[in-house]
């Protein structure tokens, strides 16, 4: 349990973030896409990157729940509920930010009326909802016992809430417990294929596109799964450190993260190597944008140095120091937005036809002129803050921590 001070500061941060971010939200609501710096040659920008970032965060939690409830790796059991809850929060943020990116959000019902069965985005939506549903239930059944317990405790604040959530259940028998665990296991098992497809499809959204220098190719979905697990794993490790001062667990996770980081860097190396060696002009061009482009530092300093080299060093050398491990993971998480930006933008930044850069001038028709504007940053900040707030409140007002206690024996 984080110290009160800790909690308070984070809470205030979240609230400040919400307030400041709201200006952006207002702009986005009022002026629509016109309020962003997006264009027609770089139609996807910061918000999609942030979306992918959240997507990553969900994965770690997903990983834990799977290991715990499907493969029954006991050591993770204590953070099972926390993870499940994290997945929920992260996916919700994901959905919110991507809704902002739609030109006509209020036509979302169209997904039902005229589904595009061939569209990866359509399936992305389907599976996102599936995930939300599964994890909502899973969370509930993980927490139910404690909810019931809390609803009975005299003098516990917000008892009403727990009473409501336990739907009039006052006592909790062993049978109930068994039943819930069966349910949880079933849901987790279900979430495995659903989740895999979910992450795969998110990769596929990009992978299947023709004539795309970086996205197009079979490597992309795999890269997606690995990056997801990496960033997610890092998050969980960090959270574990914060919420359950269980260093042993942190160590384990630290190793997993280190392993994933190495794999990820290796895949990235592959991508660059193959890209440059094939020497396809567009591929070369967009790789050059990452490596030498105006935002070269995002790649070299933010991603490689702060986000990879340093954490790798820390994880390798101070692996037995939970604090260091946790902070190493923290670095990975916060710099991961850089990885996402470098995935989303450079690929679009290459003109698809020679001469486009010199005809019909408009700043939304110039790839080099895209840089996320204030609105985009503020909206992202707002969503982050929302997520953080939800998470903090949840971790305080829901038994996500306590529910983990002694879980191990059940899985």
């Amino acid at each position: 349990m984080p110290t009160e001070r800790y909690y308070k500061t984070l809470l205030t941060l979240a609230i400040i973030g919400l307030v400041i971010g709201f200006w952006g939200v207002f702009q986005a609501m009022w002026f629509g896409k016109g309020a962003t710096d997006l264009g027609s040659y770089v139609p996807w920008g910061l918000w999609v990157a942030v979306y992918l970032f959240f997507l990553g965060l969900t994965a770690g939690a997903f990983l834990i729940t799977i290991l715990t409830y499907v493969f029954r790796v006991k050591i993770f059991a204590p953070i099972g509920p926390l993870s499940a809850f994290t997945v929920l929060v992260a996916i919700s943020c994901e959905v919110i930010i991507i809704s902002f990116d739609l030109g006509h959000f209020f036509r979302a019902y169209r997904f039902l009326l005229s589904p595009g069965w061939y569209s990866m985005i359509f399936w992305m939506v389907v599976f996102t909802n599936a995930m939300i549903l599964i994890y909502l239930l899973e969370c509930y059944f993980l927490l139910r016992e404690d909810l019931v317990k809390w609803s009975q405790e005299e003098g516990r604040p917000a008892r009403g809430l727990y009473r409501f959530l336990s739907f009039g259940k006052t006592g909790f028998t062993e049978a109930d417990r068994e039943a819930d665990h069966r349910r949880v296991r079933f849901l987790s098992i279900l979430s495995l294929p659903v989740g895999l497809i979910f992450y795969g499809i998110n990769g596929a959204i990009f992978a299947i596109l023709l004539n795309r220098p970086l996205w197009n190719g079979a490597l992309t979905p795999l890269l997606f799964i690995v990056t997801a697990l990496l960033s997610g794993g890092a998050l969980i490790t960090f959270l574990t450190y914060i919420f359950k001062a269980d260093d042993e667990l942190v160590h384990y996770l630290g190793h997993v993260v280190r392993f994933l980081l190495v794999v990820f860097l290796f895949l990235q190396l592959l991508q660059f190597f193959v890209g440059y060696r094939t020497g396809l002009p567009i591929t070369k061009a967009s790789l050059d944008i990452i490596v030498f482009g105006p935002y070269w530092w995002v790649f070299w300093i933010v991603h490689l140095l702060i986000g990879s080299a340093i954490p790798l060093y820390l994880l390798a050398v101070h692996h037995q120091n939970a604090k260091v491990v946790a902070w190493a993971c923290f670095l990975i998480i916060i710099t991961f937005i850089a990885v996402r930006l470098n995935f989303v933008i450079p690929d679009q930044a290459v003109y698809k036809l020679e001469g486009l850069e010199a005809t019909f001038y408009h700043h939304r028709l110039r790839t080099t002129e895209y840089f996320p504007n204030l609105t985009e940053w503020l909206v992202s900040l707002w969503v982050f803050s929302l997520g953080l707030l939800a998470f903090l409140l949840g971790s305080r007002w829901l038994p996500v921590i306590s529910a983990g206690k002694g879980e191990a024996k059940h899985v």
């Binding site: 739609l102 595009g116 569209s119 004539n211 486009l356 005809t359 028709l365």
Partner: protein
């Protein structure tokens, strides 16, 4: 070489071709375009004509003309490549639409249903020809002065040429205002279906100063497009992608 008087403007010939096509069963028509680069003078009339015909807002364009300079002084040439949507017969853009708001009609025109499009811009990302642009709801008259009584002024000018959207797809779209389509939508060349319907050639064809743009039913052996598609100079953009454009070029 001997020169006879030109007997008929290509536009007249093509309009006859068009009328003939419109008498066929709709499903038997396949619209096609051939752009003769040897005739293109790089005047950009097609671009602006399209912008004017469809009242496109800033940043939205259906047909651009790419300019290149080739060779070195004094052996210099300039190449001009107009690029509408090439109306792929195997369109990467339509498959990705999550709400089937864009599709290939049976006559081979790739179109967008503004009322259905949710503005995810996946199709923009998917088009290998950058032929789709998104309507960000901008105004050409933004930042011009509004001085009622002394000058004509912004509002009047706005009402004059950009408040009312054009009748694309033969539909009457509401005046441009927050959230109203086609604002927020993906937009693209639609082969001027609204004009074809009434027996008129696409705007970029009639305005083609160099008479470089040939349009018609490419399955009609008597048509000028058909004739031109037989030329040895023919090629298509990014042929290797297998998108099978129905817009071809003559070198």
């Amino acid at each position: 070489m001997s020169k006879d008087l030109p007997q008929e403007d290509l536009l007249v010939r093509m309009q006859r071709d068009l009328k003939r096509a419109l008498n066929k069963k709709p499903q038997d028509i396949r619209w096609g375009m051939v752009i003769d680069l040897a005739k293109c003078i790089g005047c950009h009339a097609c671009t602006i004509s399209c912008v004017a015909e469809n009242k496109l807002p800033p940043g939205v364009v259906y047909r651009v003309v790419l300019e290149e300079e080739v060779g070195h002084y004094p052996s210099v040439r300039r190449r001009f490549t107009p690029r509408p949507c090439v109306h792929c017969q195997n369109p990467p853009c339509t498959k990705v639409c999550p709400v089937t708001a864009t599709w290939k009609t049976e006559q081979g025109a790739v179109i967008v249903d503004y009322n259905r499009c949710i503005g995810c811009r996946y199709c923009l990302v998917a088009c290998p020809y950058a032929a789709r642009t998104s309507d960000f709801g901008e105004w050409y008259t933004a930042d011009t002065p509004e001085e009622p009584g002394t000058l004509f002024g912004r509002q009047a000018a706005r009402d004059g040429y950009e408040l009312r959207p054009a009748a694309e797809y033969g539909q009457q779209w509401p005046n441009r205002a927050k959230g109203s389509s086609p604002m927020g939508n993906a937009r693209k060349c639609h082969f001027c279906l609204h004009r074809l319907k009434v027996g008129m050639l696409p705007a970029c064809v009639t305005s083609c100063v160099g008479r470089a743009t040939i349009f018609g039913d490419r399955t009609d052996p008597q048509s000028l497009v058909f004739e031109n598609m037989g030329s040895p100079r023919i090629f298509r953009l990014k042929e290797e992608l297998g998108t099978q454009p129905s817009v071809s070029y003559l070198k």
